[in-house]
């Protein structure tokens, strides 16, 4: 059976090296100032989608992301790896959203796409690590969720069988379609870009990106309108203004602080037998060990 698959992906700031200047005064993140990457677990989700497509010929994968216009990069990356098309949900009105307002907005976009059998996304994004958006989208769509998926084992007769990785073991569940599946980092790694697809889709751009191209590049893009990445706004997905952006976010950031640890007076030891034996003797004497 052919499937209509939606993969949700987020463009995230690389959180390995971030300072306070990455935050705006209102306490939200200044994403524009940070290096952006494809959220790692969303790549795991994409791989599960690609496997479903391999096994179910005729299936289509639609990438959906919400963020700044430059998030078209993750859509294109998904297309390079085998997705069929993609949408960037981008609108100033959506800015400053907490997980709930984000989930509502994405759920509206999923409804706009309309015909879907399964929605796949990463368990969580590395900028917030909340793992809330997947289940909240499922609730907004009124469909079941399967979280912590490690592998989609089978999909047939309108049901999907999923192996879940939990803290203390594994669980295999059967859920009716459509449903939302959030994929764990322990799932199979995503396949790399396909060279042919990179050639074919390198000019797949969103309207915002197209506006920045020179005339020659624009001409190339215009020759291949079928390759374009769509850009949708809040009004297009019929989002209630009261449920999006800051207004639609029950949680507010009250304060942001840099993390500072109290330094201790440390004792430096040489890497020699005498000092290490002395340390061990001390630890034994004060009953820390032994």
């Amino acid at each position: 059976m052919s499937l209509n698959i939606i993969v949700l992906a987020k463009q995230v700031p690389d959180t390995r090296n971030v300072g306070k200047d990455a935050m705006k005064e209102d306490g939200t993140i200044n994403r524009a100032a940070l290096p952006a990457i494809f959220n790692p677990e969303d790549l795991n989700a994409l791989e599960q989608a690609l496997r479903l497509k391999d096994e179910n010929p005729g299936s289509t994968i639609t990438m959906l992301t919400m963020g700044l216009p430059r998030a078209a990069e993750v859509v294109r990356e998904g297309i390079f790896r085998g997705a069929d098309n993609g949408i960037v949900l981008t609108d100033r009105l959506l800015g400053g959203a907490d997980t709930l307002a984000t989930s509502y907005s994405l759920a509206q976009a999923v409804k706009k796409i309309g015909n879907y059998d399964i929605v796949l996304c990463g368990r969580q994004a590395i900028d917030g690590d909340t793992a809330q958006v997947g289940p909240q989208i499922a609730e907004k769509l009124g469909i079941p969720q399967v979280t912590y998926a490690e592998e989609i084992l089978d999909i047939k007769d309108g049901k999907v069988i999923v192996k879940r990785r939990l803290e203390s073991g594994v669980e295999t569940v059967k859920a009716p379609l459509p449903c939302v599946v959030t994929v764990n980092g322990s799932a199979a790694e995503c396949r790399p870009r396909n060279a042919k697809r990179v050639m074919q889709y390198k000019y797949a751009v969103s309207p915002s990106e197209k506006a920045k191209l020179d005339d020659k590049q624009k001409a190339i893009v215009e020759k291949r309108p079928n390759l374009n990445i769509q850009e949708w706004g809040a009004a297009f997905v019929e989002a209630d203004p009261q449920q999006i952006g800051m207004a639609g976010s029950p949680t507010k950031v009250k304060a942001i602080e840099n993390v500072v640890f109290t330094a201790k007076q440390s004792l430096s030891l040489e890497n020699n037998d005498e000092q290490i034996e002395q340390l061990i003797k001390e630890l034994i004497a004060n009953h820390t060990i032994g």
């Binding site: 669980e171 059967k174 993390v259």
Partner: protein, 343 residues
């Protein structure tokens, strides 16, 4: 109903008839917060074979236990448990709901909060009651729950409030709060709820076809000594050496997120904000540079020894002893001199 007189409720998980540690830790925190707010501490347990489970909860100061029993409610599945909480919360309108940031809590919390349009903050490391003034409207709020959590890979700490929507929901990881008996003789009420009124047959949509839950043999949370390795340990074989030291000292082996992500050791050993928070008597950090998110999970260790090639590794600033050098040379010496000097 006056919002701020409403109670605080903890969703309690259990397995094999035993309430999860994380739930007891949250009851301990919840008791404190409820007392400060002058409200009752409530607990809700959803599942099967719950007879007598309240006896495990009352010593933590629980005033009211809601029990919802149906054999289909165990093991946990998302929609039925969410349905119970949604319907129960509409009825009793708690002002605060706390859950473990476990596979269950992180699956259930978002679904419930989405339906009730209440805010939810994941993985809080601190919960405090405080006042708030909205910077835009100037509206003042009293006695809100400050939900304090790391963000951005632990580089910053954010205080989140949920001014207008109830319940204020938060999840907390196991080991972050301390479990402490409030009063062994404390007694509360038990309210048995009729499952059929809270969950419909059609909520049971996801079927569990196979389940292998093993008690993890790894227990770093309660270890009194931890030998931990970072990315600098370099390999699985490197971790074998840490295991050797650990077995000599009667310790557990811990690891950083980077070491776990690199596949050097199991996820259950991960110490830090996205792993386990530990407070051992002795923490021996081998090849750990000391990212904030790791330090946050082990800074309360009584004694910290840092073994690192880099004399300027950030972890050294919070260490009691710093040995600059290669762990592959130093760990065997620790083993040798421990064996020599212990009885």
């Amino acid at each position: 109903m006056q919002k701020d007189k409403n109670n605080l409720i903890v969703y309690c998980e259990y397995e094999d008839g035993k309430v999860a540690d994380v739930s007891l830790e949250l009851l301990t925190k919840g008791r404190q917060l409820a007392t400060e707010l002058g409200v009752k501490l409530e607990a809700v347990v959803i599942g099967d074979k719950l007879a007598g489970i309240e006896k495990q909860l009352f010593p933590y100061g629980v005033d009211m236990v809601y029990k919802v029993e149906d054999k289909r409610l165990y093991p946990y599945t998302s929609n039925p448990h969410a349905a119970v909480l949604i319907n129960l919360f509409r009825e009793i309108e708690p002002q605060i709901c706390l859950m473990g940031a476990t596979c269950i809590g992180r699956d259930l919390g978002p679904r419930v909060s989405s339906c009730l349009h209440s805010g939810l903050t994941a993985d809080c490391t601190s919960l405090v009651i405080g006042d708030h003034k909205d910077p835009k409207t100037g509206k003042e709020y009293q006695n809100l729950l400050y939900q304090i959590r790391p963000a951005f890979g632990g580089n910053i700490v954010a205080t989140i409030v949920n001014p207008d929507c109830r319940p204020q929901m938060a999840t907390v990881r196991e080991g972050v709060m301390k479990k402490e008996v409030f009063n062994p003789n404390h007694k509360g009420e038990v309210v048995k709820l009729d499952a059929k009124k809270y969950v419909k047959d059609e909520d049971f949509v996801v079927e569990i076809i196979d389940r292998h839950i093993e008690k993890s043999k790894i227990n770093i949370k309660n270890a009194s000594i931890i030998v931990a390795g970072g990315y600098g340990v370099g390999s699985k074989e490197g971790f074998d050496m840490l295991h050797e030291l650990a077995s000599v000292l009667g310790a557990e082996v811990g690891a950083t997120r980077a070491a776990v992500d690199a596949g050097f050791t199991e996820h259950a050993r991960q110490v830090g904000q996205t792993g386990v928070t530990v407070r051992p008597k002795l923490y021996i950090a081998c090849g750990i540079s000391g990212q904030i998110q790791h330090i946050a999970g082990m800074q309360d260790s009584s004694i910290i020894i840092s073994i690192n090639n880099d004399p300027n590794a950030p972890i050294n600033t919070i260490a009691d002893y710093v040995i600059t050098g290669n762990y592959e040379e130093i760990v065997p010496k620790l083993i040798k001199y421990y064996k020599k000097n212990s009885k």
